[in-house]
């Protein structure tokens, strides 16, 4: 029915998170019909993003400088470090606007079945960073799933006996729910009422 180019476009679009074949077709059609106002600017933006966006060497966030704007900001409290699983969690917490410290993105969670080990999450690097950079509070903002909680326990044990306050998000985050899907108000409350774990 379609030429190769269109088919490939639909295929790639339909594999984005949250999309499927049907929405892939709709998007492709939209882009192709409005080439000048949607497709070409998109190509340009994608090209620039691909060249400019880097992973922050300090926290794992994405930004256009080698160390991200959160890590370099002098307005942020460098004594508080919030550990999250994914960049999407960092973004969710930033949206909620309640947190003013810095972050560390693990890039996943401990899972024997998926073969994700402590080293894969840079946990040894994280522990060393905490030991050497004058941090006084670590917020373990991990998802209330089995893997999230196992990761929380693991990091907490690695930090045992250090002069630190270790907190987690307040309860009310439902088991199995993911931070990224919570509404901002719930997340704000969970951060405000964080408790020692």
């Amino acid at each position: 029915m379609f030429g190769q180019e269109i088919q490939q476009l639909i295929f790639l679009l339909s594999r984005f998170p949250g999309l499927g074949p049907r929405s892939g077709r709709r998007l492709a059609l939209h882009l192709l019909k409005k080439k000048e106002t949607t497709l070409l600017p998109l190509i340009h933006t994608l090209q620039r993003a691909a060249e400019a966006v880097k992973v922050c060497s300090e926290c794992g966030n994405l930004d256009t400088s080698p160390v991200c704007s959160i890590c370099t900001s002098t307005k942020r409290d460098s004594k508080v470090l919030c550990v999250v699983e994914e960049i999407s969690d960092l973004w969710a917490l930033e949206r909620s606007g309640e947190y003013h410290g810095r972050y560390f993105v693990l890039g996943g969670k401990l899972s024997a079945i998926s073969g994700v080990k402590p080293e894969d999450l840079k946990i040894p690097f994280l522990v060393n960073k905490i030991k050497t950079s004058g941090i006084t509070e670590v917020v373990l903002a991990l998802n209330p799933t089995l893997e999230g909680q196992t990761t929380l326990y693991y990091i907490r044990e690695c930090l045992e006996n250090l002069p630190l306050k270790i907190t987690g998000l307040a309860h009310g985050v439902p088991m199995g729910g993911e931070l990224d899907y919570l509404d901002d108000a719930t997340l704000t409350t969970a951060m405000m009422r964080r408790q020692v774990v």
């Binding site: 024997a112 402590p118 089995l146 893997e147 909680q149 196992t150 326990y153 693991y154 690695c158 199995g176």
Partner: protein
């Protein structure tokens, strides 16, 4: 006829042996009779699909459309004590990939679990005849199903428990001996394990109360139910916290053994529900086929009553070919129970004459 919460109308379209069927089911008991192969069980199966499960036959959705058709549908008007009249539909529209969808009042439910909040079903089928003597997993699943129907946390506890156990087994199998990682998983396993066992005990206490207060006084033979297992023994004389600590310690000590054998030798996945048939003081597995049928019937009747009392959903009881094994005395006891249950009950059998005593509460249908 008294108005009962339950299915008030049923419509089948291209489902199994039925092309199209419309049934008025405004009665407490629906009796379906006819010779073998007439479609009695198919009808119960249609009702059983108004649930998050695959129904009484555990069938694949591709087996459900009438031969020659791709789509199928079952819809039902349901009277709910709180929500009033509800309309449910379950079926497959027959598109490229088979897909069961469930609708409530015209809207597709996001998760199939949601229908379980509105309708809670239990059934007894010939496939369950060996329930009392079969593998323990079936008995655990039965009680767990009752348990999470009115306490969703129980389901979370079970899935978290199983997940943590798999993670631990994988670490042990791969030779990973990261102490902190294993401890973290074992702590979760212990916490969830004790919570699971405690809730099962709670469910049993409630069932025993119903058995003693409702079943026995009306002539049902006395029987006992007990969960047996290490954690069960543990929580009898320890607090939950002590039991968790003890269980966790045991897990820590048995790593090398569990690495070889897989899983763990201790935990709620090893528990078993045992029966005792009191009139002869015989354990369930030594009972005759007929006596076993009484035991499972006693469990099912008390369970549906518990769900009627505790869950928000409309309770439905499906009994397929249940009276076949019962002598006249037990038939009468069963019929008395069903009449008293206040739960809509669907029954099948060969001969309509066998169901005469239910006349005042029933409507009859022969496919």
């Amino acid at each position: 006829m008294p108005q009962t919460n339950g299915v008030v109308s049923l419509y089948l379209k291209d489902f199994r042996s039925y092309g199209e069927l419309v049934l008025d089911t405004r009665a407490q008991i629906i009796v379906i009779t006819g010779e073998n192969g007439r479609g009695k069980t198919n009808l119960l199966e249609a009702v059983s699909l108004l649930s998050p499960s695959k129904g009484i036959r555990k069938a694949k959705t591709t087996d459900l459309p009438k031969f020659g058709s791709k789509s199928w549908g079952v819809s039902a008007g349901v009277l709910h004590s709180i929500h009033g009249d509800l309309q449910f539909g379950v079926g497959d529209l027959g598109e490229e990939t088979p897909k069961k969808i469930i609708r409530m009042n015209g809207e597709t439910l996001k998760t199939h679990q949601d229908i379980g909040k509105m309708i809670t079903q239990l059934w007894l089928t010939p496939a369950m005849d060996r329930f009392v003597v079969d593998a323990p997993s079936g008995r655990r699943e039965f009680i767990d199903h009752i348990g999470w129907t009115f306490n969703l946390e129980h389901a979370t506890h079970i899935s978290t428990y199983e997940h943590a156990m798999k993670e631990r087994s994988k670490l042990l199998k791969d030779g990973v001996r990261d102490k902190i990682w294993l401890e973290s998983l074992e702590k979760t396993i212990a916490q969830m394990g004790v919570a699971i066992v405690s809730w099962r005990e709670t469910v049993l206490v409630l069932l025993k109360k119903i058995i003693a207060e409702l079943l026995i006084p009306s002539g049902f033979p006395r029987f006992e139910l007990n969960f047996e297992g290490d954690i069960e023994t543990l929580i009898q004389n320890k607090s939950a916290l002590e039991a968790e600590a003890f269980f966790q310690e045991k897990l820590g000590l048995s790593r090398e053994l569990d690495a070889i054998k897989g899983g763990s030798s201790m935990g709620p996945h090893r528990s078993d529900l045992s029966f005792l048939f009191c009139p002869k003081n015989t354990p369930g597995y030594l009972c005759s086929t007929g006596e076993q049928k009484i035991l499972i019937l006693g469990l099912v009747l008390s369970s549906i009553k518990l769900l009627e009392l505790k869950s928000q959903g409309v309770p439905l009881l499906l009994l397929d070919e249940v009276i076949a094994h019962l002598d006249p005395i037990y038939r009468r006891i069963l019929f008395d129970q069903i009449k008293n249950l206040k739960v809509q009950t669907w029954m099948t059998g060969i001969d309509i004459k066998d169901f005469q005593d239910l006349r005042s509460h029933s409507i009859y249908f022969s496919p």
